[in-house]
């Protein structure tokens, strides 16, 4: 039976659920012009949640509710950074949503519910919890993508996301049922021991394949990437920034829980599968991005290639590889939040700033914005000394140590190909003439300007002082 101790272990999650319900009620009784209060309250709620996660962190991994929930270092680091990126999302989203009459309380509550899903997912100790956490996250995301319901593009994106997401969940469940059939347990810890001596190894491997398909869909790794460009382009940019940043941390957490915690003994089977997914993602992401003219689509293909790099680290299947992948996921989440934050900050009522051509001559109009955008693009491309560089270096190193030298070489070649389209954005900003009669400038909102500048400068600072963060990532996988 659950006792008080179990509830204390889940305190951050319970607190967020209660806070989300209160915000929902508050919104119902609030006048539309009082909504900025809700905005600041939501940010405060998330900051308190970060405090609860860090302050209540036990020195050793503990489980609650009969092993359903694990609170360990991996969960802590993923929770802290997904909450943090969600705070960034809230900051960037406000002026954009206000300009488009989408500034509703449900944006905040649904996003908080999605974050609760992420927190449950990365702490899951049982296949059922993995599935339920994922459903909570994706169901909230479907609604968020469709938030701009009068836009055809947005509805189309939501339908695509919903259908493909349901298909992926079905695949994942199918794989889980096979794994359950082969081992007779849903608990990830017991699964780890039972997977070694099952009477039905073929069924287990089939289950593993279906689960990897499900994970591939959620990460957006090729060949399961079809939904990414349409969803990124179609959904309101304020929602894209959430899908593109915090959700990637959740996808890493899911892959880690399922593959490493649950089926770590089968790593000789899944290493090569992940390597294939990685090569395909790198190729499709980097090559197709070259021909994109829409900035959001370009960033979508960039996501696909970045998920390829993340998988390169996971192929190592050891603490070194998990730490490198985790570091990569964090660096990507923060950089991606900054990239979409830039689009949000440059957009205004009636102008989305979605096309690359919209950035023409940005340097002459707003040098600071052009400088920030340049840093973001360099970090995505992996130019030293920015944040993205060390992530790439560490995952390549992990792959080489696991004996996958060819994979690291392929990754390096595609990183150079990828450099081209990131540099094209920089070239357009600095060397092209601005189009007459158009106007692009940063948002007037002070909080957006301040947080965005801090976010981008953090890329530079964390790129130079990357040791402590990587040390934290390494420490959670030891023992």
């Amino acid at each position: 039976m659950p006792n008080l101790n179990d509830i204390l272990i889940l305190l951050p999650e319970f607190y967020l659920v209660a806070a989300a319900c209160l915000l929902l009620l508050l919104d119902a009784f609030m006048k539309p012009e009082q909504r900025p209060v809700l905005h600041w309250l939501s940010i405060a709620v998330l900051l308190v949640a970060i405090y609860l996660v860090v302050a209540g962190q036990p020195s050793q991994a503990v489980t609650a509710f009969n092993g359903m929930f694990i609170r360990d270092g991996v969960a802590e680091i993923l929770k802290v950074f997904s909450l943090l990126t969600t705070v960034l999302v809230f900051f960037y989203a406000k002026p954009y949503l206000q300009d488009r009459k989408l500034f509703v309380g449900e944006f905040y509550t649904l996003t908080i519910f999605a974050v609760i899903g992420i927190m449950l997912l990365v702490s899951a100790g049982n296949l059922i919890m993995v599935y339920l956490g994922l459903e909570l996250l994706t169901l909230s995301s479907y609604a968020l993508v469709a938030l701009n319901r009068d836009s055809r593009l947005s509805s189309e994106a939501a339908i695509k996301y919903f259908v493909l997401g349901a298909l992926a969940s079905g695949m994942l469940l199918y794989g889980m049922s096979m794994v359950y059939g082969a081992t007779g347990t849903l608990d990830l810890v017991r699964l780890h021991t039972a997977a070694g001596h099952t009477g039905m190894p073929h069924l287990l491997v089939f289950g593993l394949i279906f689960m990897i398909v499900g994970i591939g869909f959620k990460l957006g790794a090729a060949p399961f990437h079809m939904w990414i460009p349409d969803v990124y382009q179609g959904s309101p940019t304020a929602v894209t920034v959430f899908i593109g940043s915090a959700q990637k941390l959740a996808a890493f957490g899911m892959a880690y829980r399922l593959l490493a915690s649950g089926l770590g003994d089968l790593s000789q089977h899944w290493q090569l599968m992940l390597a294939c997914l990685a090569v395909l993602s790198l190729a499709i992401g980097n090559i197709v991005a070259i021909v994109q003219t829409n900035l959001k689509r370009l960033l979508a293909y960039s996501t696909i290639s970045h998920m390829g790099y993340l998988l390169v680290g996971l192929v190592n299947a050891g603490p070194e590889g998990y730490a490198a992948s985790l570091f990569y996921a964090i660096s990507y989440a923060i950089t991606s939040a900054a990239a979409f934050g830039m689009i949000l900050a440059l957009a205004r009522a009636g102008f989305e700033c979605e096309e690359i051509d919209d950035l023409k001559g940005l340097n002459q109009r707003s040098p600071w914005a052009a400088f920030l955008m340049m840093l973001v693009m360099f970090s995505l491309a992996g130019v030293p000394p920015l944040f993205g560089f060390f992530g790439k270096l560490l995952v390549f190193q992990a792959a080489i140590h696991a004996g996958y030298l060819w994979l690291a070489l392929v990754g390096a070649v595609f990183a150079i190909i990828g450099l081209y389209y990131y540099l094209r954005v920089v070239k357009v900003m600095y060397f092209d003439k601005p189009v007459e009669g158009t106007e692009v400038h940063l948002q007037k909102d002070v909080s957006v300007r301040l947080v965005l500048s801090l976010n981008v400068l953090a890329l530079l600072v964390l790129g130079i002082v990357w040791g402590p963060l990587f040390g934290w990532c390494q420490s959670v996988f030891v023992g």
């Binding site: 659950p2 889940l10 319900c21 359903m68 519910f113 449950l120 339920l132 459903e135 909230s140 609604a143």
Partner: protein, 217 residues
């Protein structure tokens, strides 16, 4: 005498085959009513497989909730979509053969299940419910509120999100809509509504002689 193990296996494959064929029917049949009837059959066959696995409560819940409520509602909606009255009536005869086939297959499955029940001899291995000396439903309830309490609560959270999402995506607040206000209606005073005006009675004017030839005698 048939070997009960064998019979159970045959039943399982038969139910599974019906499920797959019916599921294929759902996505291939062009007629929507036929597709819905196939879906009913799919659910029913799945419930039969669950009964074979001794998950009685789940099987009954599937039939009551899905076949009984959701699917019948769905069937009504599909049939109502074509609003012409004579069409609906025509449909009854037209869909009768498919309906009868579905009903007959269901009947066959039920008979087979009763056969399994009659010959049942603990062939499924140790069932936690039987080990605990409880009925399937009682055991499920117990497990749901102790061992699986957290997933159960999270499922409730997912339903909450479903409700919020449904409201966000469908509620439209239109401006300029006229509403009835009951409290104001009740508070109305008859004197505000009817005003009695005093005025002098109208006297009909005396008939005026028509001009023209009538004046001449």
């Amino acid at each position: 005498m048939i070997d009960p193990n064998m019979f159970q296996l045959v039943c399982f494959y038969a139910f599974a085959a019906v499920t797959v064929v019916a599921a294929l029917g759902v996505i291939t049949l062009r007629n929507t009513v036929h597709a819905v009837l196939s879906l009913v059959l799919t659910f029913f066959s799945t419930a039969c497989i669950w009964l074979l696995a001794e998950a009685e409560f789940l099987a009954i819940a599937l039939i009551v909730v899905y076949v009984g409520a959701v699917m019948v509602l769905f069937l009504f909606v599909v049939m109502m979509l074509d609003i012409k009255q004579e069409h609906v009536r025509e449909g009854f005869i037209k869909y009768l053969p498919v309906g009868i086939i579905v009903a007959l297959v269901m009947l066959g499955e039920m008979l087979a299940l009763i056969g399994v029940r009659a010959m049942h001899q603990a062939v499924m291995g140790a069932d936690p419910a039987t080990v605990a000396g409880m009925s399937n439903t009682a055991w499920l309830g117990n497990a749901l509120y102790t061992q699986f309490l957290l997933p159960f609560e999270v499922a409730a959270l997912i339903l909450t999100v479903g409700v919020v999402a449904a409201v966000v995506l469908t509620l439209r607040q239109r401006t300029g809509v006229r509403h009835q206000q009951a409290s104001q209606q009740v508070r109305v005073n008859p004197r505000d509504r009817v005003r009695v005006v005093k005025m002098a009675a109208e006297v009909p004017a005396a008939p005026q002689p028509a001009p023209g030839k009538e004046t001449t005698p």
